[in-house]
């Protein structure tokens, strides 16, 4: 599905990501873990075109998507969320979700000014679809709330739902449960699992080991911009190198 091969990114003289390669299989949840500063977010930013790669390529279903801008990637079926919330605070919850449908909507200026029927129909259709998505995560009651008035936990979920609305084939989630309490973390895990049930491919960057071990099909471990290990959750837990990198933290068992 997604092939990242030999990508490198330097900041100044420091190689944040160094000749890194990995493959993501269709329909799986592929997690990328590693200590702070290992280059995980840089990797996501390179795949999604936020940073230009210094060298290397990214392929989606065999076609080259290297250095394609984030907004262009959405039209190719690749969508992402952010480590730090990027929600439109002055828009309502439902409007944020409808924003996810943006690429399907009629945005002709003249038709918009004259309230053409195509505009009104689009609004109605995607309002319904948006409400349906909100129903899935139990946020329908908050639909008309301005996003800035809602809790961090709700907004984290909203961001995933908004990404989902773009109907991607690959979704990159950058620390979707950072800063959430155990209950909220569980809810987001469930959400990601249901997303995958729809035959979506997920690339997950996370620190929460318990969640990673629960939902990942495949794990790539990063350290100092390089690949440390790769395998299924059970393989990773028993990998000597990985245990060394996380020395004594016991993090791998989710404690």
């Amino acid at each position: 599905m997604l092939q990242v091969s030999h990508v490198t990114k330097k900041f100044g003289g420091v190689k944040a990501v160094d000749d890194f390669s990995f493959n993501v299989k269709k329909g799986t949840i592929h997690s990328i873990i590693g200590p702070n500063g290992a280059g995980k977010t840089t990797l996501v930013n390179m795949i999604t075109g936020v940073y230009k790669v210094d060298s290397g390529t990214v392929f989606l279903d065999g076609s080259d998507i290297t250095n394609l801008a984030t907004n262009k990637l959405v039209h190719r079926g690749v969508c992402r969320t952010f480590q730090h919330l990027e929600i439109c605070g002055n828009l309502t919850v439902i409007e944020n979700v409808m924003l996810g449908f943006d690429k399907y909507m009629d945005k002709n200026i003249l038709r918009s000014c004259f309230r053409a029927s195509s505009i009104l129909e689009d609004e109605k259709r995607y309002f319904k679809r948006g409400m349906h998505l909100l129903d899935l995560i139990g946020l329908a009651d908050f639909a008309d709330f301005e996003a800035k008035n809602l809790s961090y936990g709700i907004l984290k979920k909203l961001e995933i739902i908004r990404a989902l609305a773009t109907s991607p084939e690959v979704m990159l989630l950058d620390e979707p449960v950072a800063g959430l309490n155990p209950k909220e973390t569980q809810e987001v895990s469930e959400l990601i699992k249901t997303v995958v049930a729809d035959e979506l491919t997920v690339i997950l960057v996370e620190h929460d080991m318990k969640m990673i071990m629960q939902i990942s099909d495949h794990i790539t471990v990063m350290n100092f911009g390089q690949k440390l290990a790769e395998g299924t959750p059970s393989e990773i837990v028993n990998n000597e190198e990985v245990i060394k990198a996380y020395l004594g933290s016991g993090a791998l068992n989710g404690k």
Partner: protein
């Protein structure tokens, strides 16, 4: 050749004034992140107050000191107004300082008048002769005083305790607060210093180009251009930007078209913004996602 040398000399003279205005911008911007659109009016206030204090019969020296004091008070008033504002978004603050500039211009119309004023050079009307070109005493004075201000500002911010505290405070407001540095006092001091620099520029300039209630608009904008051309926030950049601007203007006026002289600053500004957004000496900070 002689012609060129003459243009360069007059360019450098004006360039030093732009430098002073640009430095004023830089001092406030570095400490508060605010672009002060009334910087040019500070220059005007310095020049006009001096002229009218001299009309009132005060001796030159006293007039200078009083004018500088008055302008620094104006700077502090602006700081007070900004600190009252309930909204600190960039656009609101830009408009607030624009409003203050309009207010000062209006005030100058009332307190002073709408005429052009000049005053005699305070170092005599004579001139040096260098390579068959004349350099008036006043022009030389501008160069000397402006250089002295640049150097003393540098020494103040780099070598004195107060100066270092001010730099530290603007770099990290929270840390400075924790260390017990009084941010408010530092900001007031910055606004006052900025106004003092501007007023000295205004006083120095008056014998050469004369002054009126509305000279501040162009001077302020060009000083701002100087600051951005050099790299907003870098004091050395303001000096380089100011001199470059002065020289280019003088050359364009001399060789191409005196009518388009005023456009030079803005053409250079756009070129810099489009092709070197960090300015000549600025460094671009990369954004983290």
């Amino acid at each position: 050749m002689i012609e060129l040398f003459g243009y360069l000399l007059s360019g450098v003279t004006v360039g030093f004034i732009y430098t002073l205005v640009g430095l004023g911008f830089t001092v406030i911007y570095n400490s508060s992140g605010i672009i002060n659109f009334s910087q040019g009016e500070f220059v005007m206030a310095g020049g006009m107050s001096t002229v009218f204090l001299i009309y009132a019969g005060l001796p030159l020296g006293v007039a200078f000191v009083l004018a500088i004091l008055i302008t620094s008070m104006i700077g502090i008033v602006l700081y007070k107004l900004i600190s009252f504002s309930r909204d600190s978004s960039q656009i609101s603050l830009i408009i607030l300082t624009l409003g203050f500039a309009i207010f000062l211009r209006g005030l100058a119309q009332i307190i002073f008048d709408k005429q052009l004023h000049t005053m005699p050079s305070f170092v005599g009307e004579g001139a040096f002769e260098i390579f068959e070109t004349t350099l008036s005493y006043q022009a030389l004075l501008i160069m000397v005083v402006a250089s002295a201000i640049v150097i003393s500002l540098y020494l103040f911010f780099q070598k004195t305790k107060t100066g270092q505290a001010m730099v530290a405070a603007s770099n990290n407001v929270d840390a400075a607060k924790l260390m017990g540095i009084n941010i408010k006092k530092i900001l007031i001091l910055n606004f006052a210093i900025s106004a003092v620099i501007a007023s000295i520029g205004g006083i120095l300039l008056t014998p050469i180009t004369s002054t009126s209630y509305e000279v501040g608009i162009m001077l302020g904008l060009k000083g701002f251009c100087a600051a951005i051309i050099g790299g907003l926030g870098t004091p050395f950049g303001a000096v380089a930007g100011g001199l470059l601007l002065g020289i280019l203007e003088s050359l364009v006026a001399g060789y191409i078209s005196s009518e388009y002289k005023d456009a030079v600053a803005f053409v250079v500004l756009l070129a810099i913004l489009f092709f070197m957004p960090g300015g000549i000496f600025g460094n671009l900070k990369s954004q983290r996602v």
